[in-house]
Subunit: 260 residues, 4 copies
């Protein structure tokens, strides 16, 4: 195969007695897993269990920090100054490293969650604060960014290894932002449409918007979901379509700098 | 001076808007600070602020993990299996490392908190589980143990750098355990008595119990408290008494193995 | 029908984005619902949604308070003095009343959850503390007690309306306690065995233990579960068996005293 | 005395091991206490202790619900839809009632806290949602509103018993809103200025803004604070000034409708 792409999904999003999504099924599909770090979801048990399962299958592991809001699953915007944000991110990335070391896995990347990710995709200062803290806590971490957003701009300015991400099940506006979830055309449910669209984007090296506009961008990873059986089926279809078109699902390359 | 000893205190035990104790005063007295890690007290802000202040004064920094019980301050016993305990410790030690790296400080040791420490001082298996996870998350960490307890036994068996601790304001039973807090003679409030007792223990290299029994032990660090003005005054008096008797308050030596 | 019995199940045991069990299916089977109150599970949303659904179907509603331990789902024992316990119960019962009033439903009973219920079934003082607070917060509440346990003794001494409960899927020791979950014979999975056993107990007015011992007791309610599809099927089978034997599933009678 | 006014303060704002402010001192000064309900501060213990102390001194008791954000003390804005808000308020008001009943005290009013109060003072729909739920959970509750704000408008429309509040230590803009805390002139620290200003407002029956504008309004209660010794001294001075000018500090009248 001449081309490859990473496939990532959020995982370990349970808490205590509660599960979310079908992590086992996803681990057979994706090549990178973003692990919730205890603030919006995930606890020490969930994190350890999920990281062990991911490591066993060779799936790359990343920290997925979010707002401290379990009840709202980190999806509510909270006003937080940049100093607090930095500490919050360093805490979560460190906690993920602690668990990763304990289970003998390697943490490779960081991806922001939920409302925090949304704010960071609009506001470069917020993204910068988060990434600066993530890199201080974990030098050399790959920073997974929404391609074309303020997240990408911040990661580039900060000199991070940016992993450019597109979404398999979301449509795009002409400025490369995602169509708002409240809009009817925001979500793509049809596996055929989603998978052929992903293949097309990868072949063209560009985001293709709802209007048909082509926005050239590097694409390192595709985000898929596993919260419903349909989402898992969609993810599997995309993986198949990639293979059919000689695009290999392979975790992104990442060479972490030595710590200390 | 021919002899030295570490002076440690729990710090960063606030949460959100709430403070506890006079950390600023303590930082002029102690040589090591045990920082709460977010489960029984301490949050990302408190941790960062306290570590920065400690690092600025050359005070050694340690993680102080406890049970996940903010409302009970980690002082209520909770039944938790050893697998959960390991993950819980790895999470907290990792979080502390994340903050330490972000603020440019160095984490050197781990000391258990509250009810978890009490259980670990009685039950070697519990202590072993906690220390094993702490060392996996932070190879080479100094493990601060209650001298003569199951904590010490576990740390020795596991081959950890054990930092042997005695308490300045607590009396001892003849089996080297602390007199129960509910007993009238459990706490020492008189600064003269507490400081001369510490000097005597250090000079003899032994715990001296209420009955006068002498139990030889290595003593690396003295635990003092800062939750009341009287506690801070007591800590200061002990520091002075040590200096008067040519015992230098100095943070314990610790050479961390390189991570990764 | 000449006989009736209440069928109760724990419900509303989700939290934030997480669900647990099939509440919708259970509401077609049971006649009383025990609603988690936010400490071990349940939040303001879950509580409101579940109470609305229960009220719509005429299912009786009760508060189901537990230990403040979301991550452990209230299943870990915590040491808590009786003063704290009282406040903790009053808080949760009050919160459930607040939601019940807001959604236009009526709170009728209180049943303890998890580790707190276990302790209260062994220790009459603990049960007494909890029930006293529950009744102060909600005068006249029905107190659902494990038949034959310290819970029952406490409720009787306190003069509460005690709702005597037996478990459909658990076996009994000869002292009327439940066989420990860790024992192989603790759980009954076979719907035929469970349902015929329930019918027999109700017809005899007695708990029938594993050894065949018959312990006469009043039986007001049967506890069923809904956390797995098999549990829901078991509950449905029991309901059917009751009807077949002319035992009507009907919510227990409860006349609340007027508040204020 | 021919005139009277209520003096209110937020209390019970500790959590677990942490205290905030000098509640004991404040209880000798104020006539109404707003009790935190466990979401931004306050737990079952703190609530019970504070309500008992308030009831003992004849100080009126109210619920003081806020956002579910302990670490941020409810001062961070969170996006929450009106359905969630209603449930959140009903939960907290109910919990406060549960504790009040258990300690034998009477809950009389509801006042919103922090960021939630700020939003409700700007957005009538938010205020309306909160008050509607509060009144459903506690029929007849007095609703303490920031005089001249959207809070007041909502309470009036909903037909609630509105308790009109002015702040002793905050300055006002010409539209009756509070000067933003970030502005240099937002806070009044001088006890002479604050107390004479309060007397003037009460005598004129009007808010007097920084520019000198007089905005006629009913004033039922004055908000004072107790988080610092200076704040307590300021509150005491205001009380003295009121007495000197024949204005009696007296808790507002409130006749709760009978529940159920």
């Amino acid at each position: 195969m001449t081309q490859s792409v990473d496939l990532n999904a959020d995982m370990g999003e349970g808490f205590g007695p509660w599960c979310m999504g079908d992590d086992a099924a996803l681990l057979d599909i994706v090549t990178s897993a973003n692990i919730a770090c205890g603030m919006h979801a995930g606890d020490w048990e969930t994190m350890a269990t999920t990281m062990r399962a991911a490591a066993r299958r060779g799936v790359g592991i990343g920290a997925h920090p979010g707002f401290p809001d379990l009840q709202g699953f980190g999806r509510r915007r909270m006003t937080m100054d940049s100093g607090s944000l930095r500490n919050l991110i360093a805490y979560q990335v460190g906690a993920a490293q602690g668990i990763a070391r304990f289970v003998g896995a390697e943490l490779r990347h960081v991806k922001l969650h939920g409302a925090l990710a949304n704010i960071a995709s609009e506001d470069k200062e917020v993204a910068w604060s988060c990434y600066e803290a993530a890199l201080a806590a974990m030098p050399g971490a790959g920073i997974m960014v929404l391609a074309g957003s303020a997240q990408q701009a911040a990661a580039e300015e900060i000199g991070a290894v940016a992993i450019h991400e597109v979404f398999a099940d979301r449509t795009y506006n002409d400025d490369a932002t995602l169509v708002d979830r409240k809009q009817p055309a925001a979500l793509i449910h049809d596996p055929d449409i989603a998978s052929s669209r992903m293949v097309e984007m990868l072949q063209q090296g560009a985001i293709i918007t709802e209007s048909g506009k082509v926005i050239p961008t590097r694409i390192d990873t595709i985000c898929v979901h596993g919260d419903t059986p349909a989402a898992v089926a969609l993810a599997a279809r995309i993986r198949d379509a990639l293979l059919t078109h000689a695009i290999e699902p392979r975790r992104f390359r990442c060479v972490l700098t030595t710590v200390e």
